[in-house]
Subunit: 200 residues, 2 copies
DNA sequence: GATATAGTCAACACCATGTTCAGTATTTCA
DNA sequence: TGAAATACTGAACATGGTGTTGACTATATC
């Protein structure tokens, strides 16, 4: 995220950064559909016309922010699929990246966020798993349910983590996810006062 | 969902139903932000003004559809919290409800859906768990991570299920979720070709 | 320091929105 | 079944955010 192509003019970098900050800030206050370009550029302290130099509308702007985040995550996952394993080390790196960008990541995954981003993130990791594990189409259906459980489960866990401003280290979170995936009992049943109380 | 208060005029029921169908249909084709009231009422074959008799805008309409779904699910969960356990029977009932309303549920949970709905659904179940299991505030943090993993994991599993038009029975799905929650190994590791390939 | 490029400011047409009102159609209930 | 109530239609209207343009100013690059 930080090291963008230096080809862009300093002013361009500044403008985009200010707009991103303003959008992040506004999305903490209201739904994206209720944010106007005027409001956004006012907060970024710039002319409304400047916005249109780079983005078609606010939704497209959000999408382009998502593009950058996903591209960066893709880099971490290893550009050439199948080369790097999805291990605890890699989970740590991903969580660290999320932590570093927790402002915008938090917004995107919050109730004011974008379900599309969750899906794109999900697919990114999913495709890597498919390649690494060489899932055939016959096994795909079976794979899909469990995969989705784990993937969205992780997303949920990360949401709770960001929501608390990432108090635990990325390493600890990666270890927790690792433990769960290694087959460790998900600690929910432990909360039940009695066996009879239910199973969830 | 089906048995609404009969107090409403038949025309009103008809209008709302047509609008809901039209919205569901349109959301399969495009994002909600790109749907105009004109487009919606055209598809529902009615006057544009009629829409405003019941809804302020399209987003508010979606919200009111969500309200009804969540209210119905709340009924299934038992109105008086803490009275009914969250067991396999109840999971089956919930999945059956989702299956019956899979058209709109599918849209709401799809990549064109509403992240807010996921959060509301999550909170609904969460609050019930908190009450039943008598989670104290000290234990809440610990509980939160695991709970979120399971809750969003279930959501992900359901998404995959709806996405395939619910081929498995609600009973079978409830059993699968039950198995996972009972501590059964989540079947992802099984897909790995070798132990070295990674842990996710 | 010269040139290129980015940002500002004001003005503009456009179009979906949300509201209104009079007239018509349908439902409800006595 | 008929009358009163209520819902829907169709057209008109003001409004406000949108996206674009062109001339001018400010800033970065080399």
């Amino acid at each position: 995220m930080e090291n963008k192509p230096r080809s862009e003019d300093r002013r361009v970098r500044r403008t985009k950064k200010l707009l991103t900050q303003a959008l992040t800030s506004l999305m903490k206050e209201k739904q994206i559909k209720d944010i106007t370009v005027k409001e956004l550029t006012d907060r970024a302290d710039m002319n409304r016309g400047t916005f249109y130099l780079y983005y078609r509308d606010i939704f497209q702007m959000l999408e382009s922010i998502e593009d950058e985040l996903l591209e960066a995550l893709n880099q971490i996952l290893g550009e050439k699929l199948g080369e790097t394993p999805l291990n605890e080390q890699m989970l740590t790196e991903m969580f660290e990246f999320i932590r570093e960008n927790r402002e915008i990541m938090g917004v995107l995954m919050s109730f004011r966020g974008d379900i599309c981003f969750l899906y794109r993130l999900n697919r990114l990791i999913r495709e890597k798993c498919m390649t690494i594990w060489d899932i055939t189409t016959e096994r795909e259906s079976e794979f899909n349910y469990d995969y989705n459980f784990v993937a969205f489960g992780c997303a949920g866990l990360v949401m709770a983590w960001i929501d608390r401003s990432c108090p635990e280290t990325s390493e600890k979170l990666a270890r927790r996810v690792n433990d769960i995936l290694q087959g460790q009992r998900i600690g929910v049943k432990a909360y039940s006062r009695s066996e009879k109380a239910g199973i969830i």
